[in-house]
Symmetry: C2
């Protein structure tokens, strides 16, 4: 399959070059450009040590319009102070000049090492070539250029219809949590020829992010750079206020972001398994969420998953310390369809042996039924492997 | 040094046997006995899936009196339902009969695998021999018998004076957090000939635990069995209400529990380093605590410590996601006395090289000055090594 062919979105051009920010000759500078100004919305990291491009984008996106996104890998431009902010602004100015658009319509993304100034000479030299080489089928190159230690490029494309017309959506992403050392971290850009306005666009994005990226965790380490952007240029002739458009777009966006989120978990550092943690029977959604994250981020649960050990005792201990309202004697635990805990007690060696077969799979689900209510929450995570430690211990040394 | 000789406490007898609860012929059943009824206090896990002995002890200790503690390793007696509670009661009844004391004056401790019923036949057979072999210098054997995957026995003894008289304190402990797979987990018994009453004894214990065991973290996994008990038999002729006695006892207790807490971190599963995380300059103590734990439990920080990498970017990212009030441009970070971050920005390769020498040590301190207030908090932790993953992935399989 030619992945680049299916990813075109009317009015959008994209491309990437090797600017020399990363070591070795890998693509590290990418540009996405809409031929007409687009409605824009964004969701950003809640980390209180946000990177310079996050600060810049937050301010610019408040006006609900953008026309280009310039992204670099190899350097997070985080913890770089005033100089970092100037570097981010200068990067967008260089791109704006090359594209002939207003500087304030250009957004910036960075991912890579924290605390090192951007190589602005390299960026200044590369931008004209980058802008001159943009193509309608350049999205796959963008997905490649924002990779850090990702092992595969993450891109999704969809076409759908609403109100009798077609619209296209392409989204690229990289990373997850702070799964990647110094490689802060999770970035995503969504491009569509659906139209705005910005308010409904922001609500659609916030909603889709809550259901996708905000339900995955690799190591619980939220990065300084997490950013999800959507640019909607309206060239389909549709707008989110047209009949059926908002729901059609929401459905497509939800599916696409979930697909990218699952790709990120699949590609998590050192991970050998993708595991869905599904909590139900909680008194309320907050409790269900607390239990799901306590289990998904427990080092003991994650190492047991790596060891293919149906060690439900560690799951029960994590449930118990989650802070949620828990009645130990009401809890059931399943690995896929195999029940290993009924009303807080283990079902014995036979059940565990069946469960250990489930754990041999690359993907499976752990269901925790708290048995005290009707609320639920789902989190997607991975195991904690020897390779995770190796990669993260050795990264900079 | 003959460790058992220094640990005697007037009126206390202790000992341990191999009952066959653990695999192999290791000691796994221990008993501590005060020849006279003692004042008693306890601090227990906040895990909402507490083990049976925790439920039993909580109820019994409410009366402020105890005369014996029976402890087993190899089985946590957690997630064992009604049968587990009966087994804990029966264990204390067997000990009470052998010692000739009231059953309700016997407390129980368990540590080991979750979800498996206790081998009551083994305990019933072993208790008479155990009770018959108690000795004044048997505390070291108790410390050995409650070990699970601990690599050394944890025991401290002190003599001190107050109000013109001497008093003795001996404490044994094992484990930490849920650092040990299925080996739930942190147990400690303090024996002293200081006297009560129970109210001041409980306050002294709660205070000492807050400053010691509650400032260590290995993997953030609070166990189902954590218990700290103190028995004060008063045979020194002193009481906590005597002049200077409360403060003298508190000082000794603080030092002893901190010593045991640090022994636990030193012995943490797979750990190669003991690291003190000292946060200062926070707006309030809760913020300082949140930052300290976010850094101490970050898998990325812990793997960098293992790799001896002065990777302050990961520390800044953890600070930023801690939920505390943080001004990125006010934060300083030190490794021991080497400053690597000033006002949120890195101080360059030279500082990092000096810092990497600090990280080669087995013990060091990371100081994080938030620069926005005067509150502080200290947490003791360890690194996350390949061995941690190996041990926890392979434990049951």
């Amino acid at each position: 399959m030619n992945r680049s062919a299916i990813s075109r979105v009317p009015g959008f051009l994209a491309g990437a070059v090797s600017a020399g920010i990363k070591k070795r000759d890998r693509k590290d500078l990418a540009l996405i450009f809409s031929e007409v100004p687009a409605c824009a919305a964004g969701v950003f990291t809640r980390n209180r040590v946000p990177a310079a491009p996050v600060l810049l984008d937050r301010e610019r996106i408040a006006r609900g319009r953008a026309q280009a996104v310039v992204a670099n890998s190899g350097n997070a431009n985080a913890c770089t102070g005033k100089r970092g902010l100037q570097d981010a602004e200068n990067t967008t100015r260089l791109a704006a000049q090359a594209l002939g658009v207003d500087e304030t319509l250009v957004l910036a993304l960075s991912t890579g090492v924290i605390g090192v100034p951007l190589n602005m000479d390299a960026i200044e030299t590369a931008v004209p070539k980058l802008a001159g080489g943009l193509r309608p089928d350049g999205f796959f190159e963008v997905a490649e250029a924002i990779m850090t230690t990702d092992t595969f490029a993450k891109i999704v494309s969809r076409r759908a219809e609403a109100d009798g017309k077609a619209f296209s959506v392409t989204a690229v992403a990289k990373g997850a949590g702070m799964i990647r050392p110094d490689m802060a971290t999770m970035l995503c850009v969504v491009c569509t020829d659906m139209g705005g306005p910005a308010g409904p666009l922001q609500r659609a994005l916030t909603d889709a992010v809550a259901k996708s990226f905000n339900t995955i965790t690799v190591d619980g380490d939220t990065s300084t750079n997490d950013t999800v952007l959507v640019l909607a240029n309206g060239l389909s002739g549709l707008s989110l206020e047209g009949p059926g458009c908002a729901s059609a777009f929401q459905q497509v966006l939800d599916e696409m972001l979930m697909s990218l989120a699952l790709q990120i978990v699949e590609d998590a550092e050192g991970a050998t398994k993708s595991v869905k943690i599904s909590v139900r029977g909680a008194q309320n959604r907050e409790d269900a969420r607390a239990v799901a994250y306590a289990v998904a981020e427990s080092p003991l649960v994650k190492t047991a998953l790596y060891g293919q050990d149906a060690n439900w005792g560690r799951i029960m201990a994590a449930v118990g310390r989650s802070g949620a309202a828990v009645d130990a004697e009401a809890v059931d635990v399943f690995f896929d369809n195999v029940r290993v805990v009924a009303r807080g007690q283990g079902l014995g060696p036979e059940a565990e042996e069946m469960a250990s077969n489930v754990l041999k799979q690359k993907q499976f689900c752990i269901v925790i039924d708290l048995g005290v209510g009707r609320a639920g929450f789902v989190v997607h995570t991975c195991d904690l492997s020897i390779d995770y430690v190796k990669i993260n211990a050795d990264y900079r040394t």
